[in-house]
Amino acid sequence: MNSRISGQDGRLPVLTKKDYQSDEDVRWCPGCGDYAILAQVQKVFAELQLDPDKTVFVSGIGCSSRFPYYMNTYGLHGIHGRAPAIATGLKIARPDLDVWMVTGDGDGLSIGGNHFIHLLRRNVGLKVLLFNNRIYGLTKGQYSPTSEVGKKSPSTPFGSPDEPFNPLAVAIGAGASFVARTVDTDVGHLQGVLKRAAAHQGTALVEILQNCNVFNDLTFEAITGREHRADRQLLLEPGQPLVFGKNRDRGIRFRNDGAPEIVKIGDGADEVPLSALPVHDEADAAARHAFTMAQFDYPELPVAMGVLRAVERPVFETVLRAQEVTARKGAPKPNGDGQRDLEALWNQGDVWDAD
């Protein structure tokens, strides 16, 4: 029940997008993809009528991590890479809160990489928005763990020597229960994925391909550009065959050795009938296809978009609470001044009286 502007007349108040906007000046560069994400998050929140007073945004450091300041909810702007740990502590203390975490490819995958994988492993009940722009923005353009090999940046004038990793493959490897990918510029798709994440129990990871127009402009253009995106993205729908292309005439299937291949859909020679294509199974326990699809990359393969994986498994803070309930059974209850069980604690072991 929303508590912020509960109507005097007993009618449910309706929150609009504006109600989720804070009074802080938004300080991203003009044209930054972050604006679009902020707007869509606010819109989805309004659509779902999420209670701003019961919501907390937690972040680390970086351009994306300024996000909490702009949401008219509770918020904590933390330190570099540590948002998962802060948010975990918050959820341990307050499982009742709706906690959203915002991070970037540098914050979440580099300095905070350790916390990132352990958050997913534990399946803490959080929504994680990972803004991937393949660059360090706030520190002026160094290459990041998702930058392509050879990336020239102020710290890699001869091109970056190291392989990037794929955030979603890492996440699936860490046991993530919900993994999705979307784009800052595709409003409808972004909203759809955000709503799915909002409904997930456990850690919901959403990678948002985001354009940093100052330091890494158009880095995803080859994938996300309006005129060719249908040919270069594989839009995943649960239970639907793996079909892509402007004319929806191409599909993906997996060979016996697990390797993916692009096929033409049809009944002719060298063509594969639609019915023979694999359908997308978000809940596949082994996550084999999800792991492979997470790594699809243009130009070899269309980039997988949407919810790659969504499974139910025990949520960390729920398990903790259940342990507490069990432990409390039969334990002495705190009395009026709340100290009786303490006295029992103090008196544990061998006690004796001096007189």
Partner: protein
């Protein structure tokens, strides 16, 4: 038994209160005993020590313990590096240290003898397991010849007992294999000690059964060996003539007691504090010696509103505690020096957010990995200054194992009241050492319920209380009070991001002023002795017991020496300067290379002098006495 009072051979004890069975036997009565059990890390010496301690506590003696073990779980067997020891002083008067020198040494093998013999008081009793003095063991220990057969041990009263063989004989019909049977020999030593110091056998049998409950065969074997050790004392000729040793009950203040180790006291203090504040406790830690047992203690207390979190690393542990505090719980993290180094940035975040947080540092030998199982006080500067920026944090230090309980409560109380991280310093010596703890009476400690703001009217995130300078604590979920905070500098009132130069200057100063206000919580300085004289010792932390004992001895000799022990290291009591100036000299004993002394000199412009020791061992009373003697004259 260094301070023997009325040592006497009594063949017919007249004290009717003593068990009738004993009245036939000779005993001598002493005031205090320092005993050290030592053997291989695998010999179970820690268990022997703690079991003997338990019985000693129940017997009503005052006591103080000091376990000393290598960092390796099973260090190279048979070598001096792998020796594990447990020292304990018990007394019929109040004592504050585990004793400078053992007057009874129980050595289970040559390596233990080698590593410990030098500490034994001249004329002291040495009980050795001759069965372990084989050629290979002697070589491993670095002995060319058997020290029991030359004059190495000539200065001591030596009891040569083949504990290995006697254990084997006792278990001959038990069906246990040789290796398992041999592992029971520490209970022979325990049994002998029980006889020697007149401890009741029955309670120990129950304790052994409880301890080995899952393995009844082992329990029975240990009981058999324990009894064999006890009976050996009763019947062996060597002991028949000297008899047992009696230490009367100590005149402790009336009340209920329990023997407690420092880390257990810290854990109980935190739980108690959370309850008194009406908050849930979230303790986040990462395994590290010697702090882990705080996490272990608390992990079992789920029924008492405690949630523990073993994080993926030290940083995450600190961050989770901050997250919990933001959520309205009491967030606590604990570690030792290396872990505290990693937590530094997070502590800074908590300073900036102005949220309650308790950070426990169980100090150990440094730098780097240093001496994980040994004690030191070298993290004081780290506690005070080990963060980027102007980042003041109140720092409190516990001074005895049981005092960890009260120091933890105080740390939490101040953290909540002043909305600030508070560093609680203990050390390895306090953490693993133990002493009798007088349980608080119900209601004895005043509650301090945390106050959360829930009034949205004119709420400003960083508006401060006029007395404490603390901002208001708001639980997320409170209607109409949604707000954002972070580590970027904030506007002094609204909390919005601000890079304004004047605002930053103001915020740095107000954060410092807030910590200075904690002085209002600091009780008046308690001087041990007159508040003027020739020499003042200024101490902090675990040196308390040794300093007090040394000062008492020196005063008894007619020296004009006093001491003062600092509980809060930040803020310092402003009156300390005045006090130090009333003494001709000021000496600051510390288990570091002189950290507090630098602060005292800088802050109060007094010519305080350092007395330092970094050997991973606490100060001995005698060391402090020598230092006092050098700096004072005797007046009659």
């Amino acid at each position: 038994m260094e301070t023997q009072v009325g040592e006497s051979q009594v063949s017919q004890a007249s004290d009717a209160q003593n068990q009738s069975a004993r009245t036939e036997r000779p005993f001598r009565e002493v005031e205090s005993v320092v005993i050290r059990f030592c053997g291989d890390s695998g010999d179970g010496m820690q268990l022997t020590g703690t079991e003997f301690t338990r019985a000693t506590a129940l017997a009503g003696n005052d006591l103080s313990t000091m376990p000393d073990f290598p960092a390796e779980i099973r260090a190279p067997a048979g070598t001096p590096a792998g020796v594990s020891g447990y020292q304990l002083q018990f007394s019929s008067r109040e004592i504050g240290t585990p004793g400078d020198q053992p007057d009874v040494l129980v050595a289970m093998n040559p390596a233990a003898l080698k590593a410990n013999l030098a500490d034994l008081l001249a004329g002291g009793s040495l009980i050795v397991n001759t069965g372990a003095f084989t050629k290979p063991n002697l070589t491993k220990a670095g002995y060319d010849a058997n020290p029991l057969e030359d004059d190495t041990v000539a200065a001591y009263k030596v009891y040569k007992i083949d504990i290995t063989r006697l254990t084997k004989l006792a278990l001959a019909s038990s069906g246990l294999d040789n290796k398992t049977a041999d592992r029971c020999k520490n209970f022979f030593a325990l049994g002998l000690a029980f006889w020697m110091f007149e401890r009741p056998v029955e309670s120990e049998l129950d304790a052994i059964r409880a301890k080995f409950g899952k393995k009844p065969i082992l329990a029975e074997a240990n009981i058999t060996v324990f009894k064999a050790g006890y009976h050996y004392g009763e019947t062996a000729e060597v002991f028949a003539e000297t008899g047992s040793v009696r230490v009367r009950k100590a005149p402790l203040p009336t009340g209920r007691y329990r023997n407690i180790m420092g880390n257990a006291a810290t854990a109980l203090g935190l739980v108690t504090a959370a309850r008194l504040a009406k908050l849930d406790l979230v303790y986040a830690g990462y395994p590290i010696t010697p702090a882990s047992s705080i996490l272990h203690e608390l992990a079992g207390l789920r029924a008492h509103g405690v949630t523990t979190f073993q994080a993926e690393d030290e940083i995450a542990a600190a961050c989770a505690a901050v997250g919990a505090s933001f959520g309205g719980a009491l967030g606590v993290t604990g570690s030792s020096g290396p872990g505290i180094a990693l937590k530094g940035e997070t502590i800074g975040l908590a300073v900036s957010l102005e949220l309650p947080l308790v950070i426990v540092n169980v100090q150990r030998g440094g730098p780097s990995t240093g001496l994980p199982t040994k004690t030191e006080q070298a993290d004081l500067m780290q506690a005070l200054y080990g963060r980027n920026g102007e980042c003041p944090v109140p720092v409190i230090a516990a001074c005895t194992p049981a005092d960890c309980f009260y120091a933890a409560i105080e740390a939490a109380r101040v953290a909540i009241k002043y909305m600030t991280p508070v560093m609680l310093l203990t050390d390895g010596y306090l953490a693993n050492g133990s002493e009798p703890w007088q349980l608080p009476r119900p209601g004895e400690i005043a509650p301090f319920p945390a106050v959360f703001r829930d009034d949205p009217e004119d709420y400003k995130v960083y508006r401060r209380d006029e007395t404490t300078l603390a901002r208001a604590w708001v639980r997320p979920g409170t209607p109409g009070l949604a707000h954002r905070i972070g580590g970027i500098e904030k506007d002094a009132l609204t909390g919005n991001v601000s890079y304004d130069p004047d605002n930053h200057d103001w915020m740095c100063r107000i954060r410092a002023a807030k910590v200075e206000r904690v002085q209002n919580e600091v009780p008046a300085l308690k001087v041990n002795g007159p508040d003027e004289g020739e020499l003042l010792l200024v101490g902090w932390g675990s040196t308390y017991g040794a300093i007090n004992a040394a000062v008492a001895q020196a005063r008894a000799e007619g020296r004009r020496v006093s001491s003062v022990h600092l509980r809060w290291l930040n803020p310092l009591d402003g009156k300390l300067g005045e006090l130090m100036r009333r003494f001709t000299r000021v000496l600051v004993p510390e288990m570091n290379l002189g950290q507090l002394v630098q602060i005292l000199r800088a802050r109060f412009l007094v010519d305080a002098e350092p007395l330092t020791k970094v050997m991973g061992q606490p100060f001995k009373i005698a060391e402090l006495c020598r230092a006092i003697e050098k700096r004072t004259t005797v007046r009659n």
